[in-house]
């Protein structure tokens, strides 16, 4: 049988090769050198993360990426990790480690794990990029273990996409309840899926520009958003953890972030009575009455004005109007976009304490 090999070689030098050559020169490139280089560069740092229940089986899986050569892995925090008596991490080179949860970032819901390795053992840390430079239309790769297609040393899946926008989708009405990241996120069209959470979003230079969040689905339209937390937002978390490894399990970020926390207490007073009509909530938010001397009255709001937006969120009906206005406290200001006849205008209403 071996003797036949030379014949194969002879044949291979003949016609088929010529055909092949003709094809390759005529057609487009088989692969993009930059995608190829980016995949090659990031894959060794990508970690398959498993939460392990007892001794028997795997019940949760996600993706992480090594961000420090000492074996720090960033991934998305989840119940899988919280409840796991053991967290296991599989590297692409086949190495497997137990990992401990080092710290949780309240703001981004990301966690840092530490691979429990021998002293002196080092790991290939991914290059972290500059997420400030991310622009819509730029190509990105999302690397992750969707549906646990990869187990041991098999590489995680690579999906190609473009950056759709860098924005704060939380401002948009009707988004999923569980989305509360306060900052801007990178939206992209590379499909995010269970298992990819915590996986790196990589630019074509092979640098990590974001860490994949969970799949977010709009409550109203079922539109799904694929987002990643910009890596720049996570760098303080990472740097602080490296600098102060024993600073506690929870990282609450810098003090500026605290201001973004929702206030509490009584809702403020505005003085608008909205037209309540219809049990099915479909009636738009028409102003019915404006209490004389109230903040709304002073701002110039009139009966019959139709409220279209409160700050940047659309007001669909009277019910949403009430719900949203109740979130403001005395001293805060809401920008109301209203329609009066054919005119659309913005009126600022400053809330007061209830009289």
């Amino acid at each position: 049988m071996r003797a036949l090999l030379p014949a194969f070689h002879r044949m291979a030098q003949g016609l088929p090769l010529l055909l092949l050559a003709a094809m390759t020169t005529a057609g487009p490139a088989v692969r993009s050198p930059r995608i190829d280089a980016a995949v090659t560069s990031v894959q060794p740092s990508v970690v398959k993360v498993f939460g392990v229940k007892g001794f028997t089986g795997v019940f949760g899986y996600m993706t992480g990426v090594i961000v420090h050569e000492s074996g720090l892995v960033i991934t998305r925090g989840s119940v899988t990790l919280d409840e796991a008596p053991q967290i296991k991490c599989h590297l692409n080179d086949g190495r497997r480690y137990l990992a401990e949860l080092v710290r949780y970032d309240k703001r981004s819901k990301m966690v840092l794990l530490r691979l429990m390795a021998d002293k002196g053992e080092t790991f290939p840390a991914a290059k972290l990029g500059d997420s400030d430079k991310v622009r819509p239309g730029q190509f990105v790769l999302l690397v992750g273990n969707a549906y646990r297609v990869a187990e041991g040393g098999e590489p995680c899946a690579v999906n190609l996409g473009v950056v759709s926008a860098v924005t704060k989708p939380s401002m948009r009405a009707g988004l999923a309840d569980d989305f509360d990241y306060p900052g801007e996120v990178i939206l992209h069209d590379a499909m995010n899926n269970p298992g990819v959470y915590g996986g790196p979003l990589v630019n074509l230079d092979g640098e990590v520009v974001g860490i994949s969040g969970t799949l977010v689905e709009s409550r109203e339209t079922n539109v799904q958003l694929h987002y990643a937390v910009p890596i720049d937002d996570l760098k303080p978390f990472l740097e602080d953890t490296i600098a102060r490894p024993d600073a506690g399990k929870v990282y609450s970020g810098s003090s500026e972030d605290a201001g973004e926390e929702e206030g509490s207490g009584e809702p403020g007073y505005h003085g608008i009575t909205i037209l309540k009509a219809g049990i099915n909530l479909a009636t738009p938010a028409y102003v019915d009455r404006v209490a004389p001397g109230s903040p709304a009255s002073r701002a110039g709001l009139l009966p019959d004005d139709l409220v279209l937006r409160i700050d940047r969120t659309a007001v669909k009906n009277w019910k949403t109007f009430e719900k949203m206005m109740a979130k403001y406290h005395a001293g805060e200001t809401a920008q109301l976009t209203i329609k009066r006849k054919d005119e659309v205008k913005v009126i600022a209403v400053k809330f007061e304490a209830k009289p």
């Binding site: 049988m1 071996r2 003797a3 036949l4 030379p6 014949a7 194969f8 002879r10 044949m11 291979a12 003949g14 016609l15 088929p16 092949l20 094809m23 390759t24 005529a26 057609g27 487009p28 490139a29 088989v30 692969r31 993009s32 995608i35 190829d36 980016a38 995949v39 894959q43 296991k88 086949g94 497997r96 790769l141 969707a146 549906y147 297609v149 990869a150 187990e151 041991g152 040393g153 098999e154 590489p155 995680c156 899946a157 690579v158 999906n159 190609l160 590379a190 499909m191 899926n193 269970p194 079922n222």
Partner: protein, 539 residues
């Protein structure tokens, strides 16, 4: 002043760069468009009753690949092509375990096709086109073309409980694959079929693409293509045992794969393997995970001899042992677990309509003449067909020895068969059959193309010539290369290998036929029989 002057060319340069970027992007886009338009005519919309899927023509003579779950065991399918017309096709062979089926377009003509490529040459991030008829949107059968990259290769996706529709070595892609894409091609950017799209991972939302699609790899397809062409139901091998992985820091690699279920009877059970035994090596490859093992075994056919090494924990240590056993077959069942019957012969007959029958028809006048004694058979006890196959520049050889050199520059060793000739091998075998049986000598009950056989890592076409006494086996090279691997025939009755040499190939009625057939013993030392045929006339 100077600064201003400098600024102007700089701006021009930036503007120029933008234009150039666009021009470059446009030029490269043109190549993509051309590739898409070159491939589209080979893509099929496959219809079964009110439903349908996709397919792709892979040979000039109209062989079409699709999914088993698209064709199932239908005899005939309707295929819509880019010409906006429906064409008739027959289902030749199916592979329920591997979710493949092979069809042939009935009309004999040159079809637009895309050849199978090498799926092992793919890398993560390679560009691919998926084509097909998702949601059966194409009223005029023009395929939907979606772009993506390779997300992963050598993926394992489990099948149904009964072992069918298994994707043991598939390609993962983020090109949009949806219901109706089933059976359609995944193309690399060389224009080759590297996979057949067959399944996706789904979210709870519905049966639409979420960027995780799987295609059966072309290299897996190549292994069972001959069986499919021969009208077989491809039977996959199994150990009739299941294994699972256990984390064991003591074990090399940290993961021990152990047997956890054994069926009795079953080849693993019969070989003495027990629950708890560790699987160390399979076919010489060290086993590090369940998926890896599943990938290795899933591509092997029923009846294949395999070797494996297991280890058993006894007396405080792992003792290794070697096994050699013959793989059982995975029962042929449909998705619901119902057993599939062997296909009626009409599958092959359908092909006969196209090819064998044409050869037979052409031989009718010959059959009449044979009675006049123009076919001479020398010697007694013709054992079976043999190994050499000479037609002009073509030589059939055994693996190690060649006795019959070709007229056209043949030499010892192996010769390439002209691909065009190789393409027609089936017809020639049919012609043989007719030549031999028309003589009235019933040494050869049938000469059938019966599928493929795994030789080393290659699959070759297999032709069985059945005598009244035994079964003979012939190996061919696949049509891809047109190369002949080996042609051996084994007679159970005589329990030895024999060789057959066909010579003096001439064209008759548009088909090449051997005018002289000699039958030898295995070592080509002893001539057993010579069949000389002089009565084939052109026209």
């Amino acid at each position: 002043m100077r600064r201003v002057l400098l600024l102007i060319p700089l701006l021009t340069a930036v503007a120029g760069a933008a234009d150039d970027a666009l021009a470059a992007a446009r030029a490269l886009e043109k190549e993509r468009i051309e590739l898409a338009s070159r491939l589209a005519p080979a893509v099929c919309a496959v219809f079964r009753g009110p439903g349908g899927g996709s397919g792709v023509v892979i040979t000039r003579d109209g062989l079409v690949l699709s999914n088993f779950h698209v064709t199932e065991l239908e005899n005939e399918m309707r295929i819509g092509l880019l010409d906006a017309r429906i064409h008739e096709a027959v289902v030749l062979g199916v592979d329920p375990s591997g979710d493949l089926s092979l069809l042939r377009l009935k009309e004999p003509r040159d079809w637009a096709f895309a050849p199978l490529g090498d799926s092992d040459a793919l890398r993560q991030g390679d560009w691919v086109y998926a084509m097909g008829n998702p949601f059966l949107l194409a009223t005029d059968f023009s395929p939907t073309i979606t772009l993506g990259v390779i997300s992963g290769i050598h993926r394992y996706q489990g099948g149904s409980i009964r072992g069918t529709l298994l994707y043991p070595d598939c390609i993962q892609t983020d090109a949009s694959i949806n219901p109706g894409n089933s059976g359609g091609p995944l193309f690399n950017f060389q224009g080759q079929v590297v996979g057949i799209n067959g399944r996706v991972s789904l979210r709870e939302r519905g049966r639409v693409n979420i960027g995780v699609g799987y295609a059966i790899s072309s290299n897996q397809i190549k292994r069972c293509l001959p069986d499919l062409r021969a009208g077989q139901i491809v039977e996959h091998g199994t150990l009739n045992a299941t294994v699972r992985s256990i984390d064991d820091p003591e074990w090399p690699g940290g993961v021990r794969v152990t047997f956890d279920k054994l069926l009795s009877p079953g080849c693993a059970y019969d070989a003495g393997i027990q629950i708890g035994d560790a699987l160390v090596e399979f076919m010489g490859e060290r086993i590090t995970g369940v998926n890896q093992f599943s990938r290795l075994i899933a591509v092997l056919p029923k009846g294949r001899r395999i070797s494996l090494r297991t280890a058993r924990f006894e007396d405080g240590r792992w003792g290794e042992r070697e096994h050699r056993l013959t793989l059982d077959g995975i029962p042929l069942v449909d998705e619901k677990g119902k057993e599939l019957k062997k296909p009626p012969r009409t599958y092959l007959d359908m092909e006969v309509d196209r090819t064998f029958a044409a050869a037979r028809a052409a031989l009718q006048p010959v059959a009449a003449e044979t009675r006049e004694g123009t076919l001479t058979v020398e010697g007694r006890d013709p054992v079976a067909l043999g190994e050499a196959y000479a037609a002009g520049r073509v030589t059939w050889t055994t693996g190690d020895r060649v006795r019959e050199a070709t007229a056209g520059g043949g030499r010892d060793g192996d010769e390439a068969i002209d691909p065009d000739l190789a393409k027609d091998m089936l017809e020639r075998v049919a012609a043989w059959n007719d030549l031999l049986s028309a003589d009235g000598r019933q040494h050869f009950a049938t000469v059938d193309f019966t599928g493929g056989a795994l030789v080393g890592h290659d699959t070759v076409d297999r032709i069985e010539a059945k005598t009244k006494e035994g079964v003979q086996r012939v190996y061919f090279v696949h049509l891809d290369t047109g190369l002949l691997r080996r042609l051996d025939i084994y007679s159970r009755n005589w329990a030895r290998w024999i060789s057959l040499v066909c010579e003096d190939w001439r064209e008759a009625n548009g088909l090449l036929r051997p005018y002289k057939v000699t039958v030898w013993d295995r070592d080509k030392e002893k001539l057993l029989q010579t069949i000389v045929y002089t009565g084939i006339r052109n026209g």
